[in-house]
């Protein structure tokens, strides 16, 4: 999943560099969605998540 986040970001940067702004922003949005999903998974996963029990009230 992390590879997909970076792949979408790399494609976005490549399209921006080549001058295809709209496609670049579309790829960046895809990357943003994947990255947000992965970050939330990292926080809330019961098995692997980085929970912070010392801050839960």
């Amino acid at each position: 999943m992390m590879a997909a986040v970076f792949a979408a970001l790399l494609v976005a940067l490549a399209f921006e560099f080549a001058g295809y702004g709209r496609i670049a922003v579309a790829c960046l949005l895809l990357s943003f969605g994947l990255g947000t999903w992965l970050f939330l998974w990292e926080i809330y996963s019961a098995d692997y998540g980085f929970r912070m029990p010392w801050l839960e009230l």
């Binding site: 999943m1 992390m2 590879a3 997909a4 986040v5 970076f6 792949a7 970001l9 790399l10 976005a12 940067l13 490549a14 921006e16 560099f17 702004g21 670049a24 922003v25 960046l28 990357s31 943003f32 990255g35 947000t36 992965l38 970050f39 998974w41 990292e42 926080i43 692997y48 980085f50 912070m52 010392w54 801050l55």
Partner: protein, 196 residues
């Protein structure tokens, strides 16, 4: 008065560009330093560390977009969004590592006595301050003035964009080798480890 404005606007536009370039150079330097620490000193990035790199590359995207499209502030907006993302992730990791617990050491070594997630907090705040300062000082876009900027600045923008693209490609390959297709809860490079 209008003559004074005509004199001032190219100076403001040039300073605006220089500030954006300084932000892009600083981000590229930070990302390069992170890669040096990974490849030269064997510091394997954690998932949240990689997501912070991702957010920094998103900021780079926004700044490059802003540098190359003078008739819109959309690039600065994209950069600011990713600066907020960087701030959220780095604050989360800083709070995560605030409390020592068995089996989880502080991720990475300290740089000038400060750990890397805390540096990320400083970088995110500096980026947000940079975007705010350039809007406060230089204001709205000036397409007719920006289009007349020097070829040297255009070449520098092109070179910086190319360098960011290059280090993003290296990071992508590195992530594939480290994480495979998973979420990257690894302590080494998955594709380089021998099968059991």
């Amino acid at each position: 008065m209008s003559g004074m404005a005509q004199v001032d606007m190219p100076v403001a536009a040039t300073l605006d560009r220089l500030l954006l370039m300084a932000m892009l150079i600083a981000l590229a330097a930070v990302l390069t330093a992170a890669m040096v620490m990974q490849y030269a000193f064997g510091e394997i990035p954690c998932p949240l560390c990689l997501l912070q790199r991702y957010a920094m590359f998103g900021c780079c995207f926004g700044i490059v977009m802003q540098l190359r499209s003078p008739d819109s502030e959309r690039g600065a907006g994209v950069g600011a969004i990713f600066a907020v993302v960087l701030l959220v992730i780095s604050v989360r990791q800083t709070l995560l590592d605030l409390f020592p617990r068995p089996g989880h050491a502080y991720v990475g070594s300290a740089v000038f006595g400060i750990h890397m997630p805390v540096w990320s907090v400083f970088i995110a705040v500096a980026l947000l301050a940079g975007f705010a300062v350039r809007l406060a000082l230089f204001g709205a876009p000036r397409p007719s003035v920006l289009s007349a900027l020097s070829p040297m600045m255009s070449r520098l923008t092109y070179s910086l964009a190319l360098y960011v693209l290059l280090i993003c490609a290296i990071n992508f390959v590195s992530v594939v080798v480290q994480c495979g297709v998973g979420e990257c809860h690894t302590t080494g490079y998955v594709l380089l480890s021998s099968p059991h």
